[in-house]
């Protein structure tokens, strides 16, 4: 699988480290959030069959974090 680093261009996936799903919203009022909503923020993730926004870091290259949208079925990647 080739992953497009926004700086270095397409590189082999073994140069990258996965950072989990992207666009997970931080509690808007953290002081008021109860245990259940914290648990939801920290541990609960959608597990779609299809497009998923993800965080990746080009760990063996420029070491920058970025987002992409990857199709979990086809592995096809589109820029976030």
């Amino acid at each position: 699988m080739l992953i497009p680093c926004p700086w270095c261009g397409e590189r082999e996936d073994n140069e990258f480290t996965y950072g989990g799903p992207a666009q997970v919203a931080y509690p808007s009022d953290p002081e008021a959030a109860d245990d259940a909503s914290w648990a939801r923020y920290v541990f609960f993730r959608a597990n779609p069959k299809g497009k998923l926004a993800e965080r990746w870091v080009h760990s063996a290259g420029c070491r920058r974090w970025f987002n992409v949208v990857r199709d979990t079925v086809t592995h096809q990647i589109t820029p976030a």
Binding site: W7, C8, R11, E12, N14, E15, A60, G61, C62, R64
Partner: protein, 194 residues
């Protein structure tokens, strides 16, 4: 009695085998351990154009802002490592002088200069067979149209993270972390056998 500290290249133990190999290939491939170098990690904002200008003046050439390219003049060069990160390289012994000059060029702007001279060791791989040898362990395309002179990349050589710089048509320099030197040296010698 105080023992004298002697610097020894992590590749020193392989120099003879590299030399023998150059002879065996009739010069089609030479691997040479390069002398110690001044290596400084530079972090700063490239959008600050007057800062880029001041840093370029210290370096003696334009700081490369295009990803994975190298700026160079004489024996000094700067490799793009990230959108706000470079590796400045020069002859050994200029560490303090260059650090001071770059730091004063910041003139209050945010940034950092860190001496990382002992982090990586430089190995030159040169000759008609150089590209073929490296292609055994590098996934990036070394075609001169994509990776010609003046290009650099941080990538994996076999399983070791390295910086690869193309110096000219047939010459590459790889920057290898000291602790990976033995692995890279034995990998190169092994790949040559193929």
């Amino acid at each position: 009695m105080i023992a004298e500290a002697v610097r020894r290249s992590p590749f020193a133990g392989y120099a003879e085998r590299f030399a023998a190999l150059s002879e065996a290939t009739g010069g089609e491939l030479t691997i040479r351990v390069l002398p110690f170098a001044t290596q400084l990690n530079l972090r700063m904002d490239p959008k600050n154009l007057s800062l880029v200008q001041r840093i370029s003046e210290v370096l003696g050439f334009g700081l490369p802002v295009t990803p994975n390219t190298v700026g160079a003049k004489g024996d000094r060069r700067a490799l793009w490592l990230g959108p706000d990160e470079w590796l400045a390289v020069g002859p050994d012994g200029q560490q303090d002088e260059l650090t001071q000059a770059l730091t004063s060029a910041f003139n209050g702007a945010l940034g950092s200069v860190t001496d990382v001279s002992a982090n990586r060791t430089l190995l030159e791989i040169r000759g008609a067979k150089a590209r073929e040898l490296l292609a055994h362990g590098l996934a990036i395309d070394l075609d001169p149209r994509l990776f010609g002179p003046g290009r650099c990349a941080q990538t994996l050589l076999a399983k070791a993270q390295v910086i690869v710089e193309r110096r000219d048509e047939s010459g590459f320099v790889i920057y290898v972390r000291a602790s990976f030197a033995a692995y890279v040296a034995t990998w190169l010698l092994d790949a040559l056998a193929e």
